[in-house]
Symmetry: C2
Subunit: 195 residues, 2 copies
């Protein structure tokens, strides 16, 4: 199994965390982001969307962190990281959706603007991101983990861009339960902390 990634990609980090938690061996292939290798021919054949991560497994190629998480969880994690019963899977999926909406297009886009790698309306992204943080904070009032009462790919999917929210000038000071949840994630054996 081969993971196309960059060391800095939060989306690739999600897949690396799950592979590490499950202790699954894989080959890292670093994509040369500064030279825009991810926007050039050979890589675009793997992923026409021009993004990392991409996972090559069993002769197939899967792009997108959500797809990669699902593959690894189903292949190596049994029911533990992604249950397949309707209620359990739906509960996990709603947090994967949060990761791909408020967290990515809010927190991460705000960070992109602050780091000068993206244009757009910083305040709009910050506000959208804070809406996501408020939902997380409220949920964590009476939950230790995001879904089904245990760590799942829901937590993994939401972690990276919540952890880096302050780089988008979004302080986590007002979200103490979110911060405590980040620390609980990081305390799981095998978790990879944001560099």
């Amino acid at each position: 199994m081969k993971l196309y990634m960059t060391e800095n990609s939060g989306n690739a980090l999600k897949v690396r965390i799950l592979l590490s938690l499950l202790d699954v061996p894989y080959e890292k292939t670093l994509v040369d982001f500064p030279n825009k290798e991810h926007k050039k021919g050979p890589f675009l054949k793997l992923n026409p969307r021009g993004q990392v991560p991409v996972l090559e497994a069993e002769g197939k190629v899967f792009w997108d962190s959500a797809s990669n998480l699902v593959y690894v969880a189903r292949k190596y994690g049994g029911e533990k990281w992604l249950p397949t019963d309707p209620l359990g899977m739906a509960e996990v999926m709603q947090w994967l959706a949060m990761a791909q909406n408020e967290i990515y297009y809010g927190l991460q886009w705000a960070r992109g603007v602050k780091r000068g790698i993206k244009t757009g309306n910083l305040e709009e992204y910050q506000q959208y991101g804070r809406q996501g943080l408020a939902v997380l904070e409220d949920h964590l009032k009476d939950h230790e983990w995001l879904a089904v009462g245990r760590p799942t790919i829901a937590d993994i999917a939401c972690y990276p861009y919540v952890a880096t929210a302050p780089q988008g000038d979004i302080s986590l000071d007002g979200y103490p339960r979110v911060v405590a949840w980040l620390r609980r994630c990081e305390a799981l054996p095998g978790w990879i902390k944001r560099g």
Copy 2:
């Protein structure tokens, strides 16, 4: 089972399409969008993200179309609309991801700006949306359906905001295979066309 929705919501349409294809009875609860019912107390208790659709089933509440699609597919569709083997599920999931990225934050946000219900950079959204359409067009060169060789929730998730792309001033004229795929979707018994 109860679906909180508006008649115009493309995200709610996804869930309605799957329920209709599977001929599953459910109760429609219309949310008063013009009066911002979805941003007020009682509805926010169901979905703190303030969006439709929301599905109430088996005493649980699930927000987000992806989560709702997964619930209905797993509960009523067996393996047909969402396979649970690692390769099949990952293949479906990568198109759900496309629906939540280029298609929503590109095509749908462009449409939102054109309809005056959203601010932001129209050209940026249009460009992002066209990237998604190009990926779809290329994939459909040698595939009839988006994943696993048959209609799945991948097609359902991508359909609504591709169908309405022209309302964001994004013509589908340059994407004949995408248009043919929309028509194939609409020809499935029970499909609900965009109003």
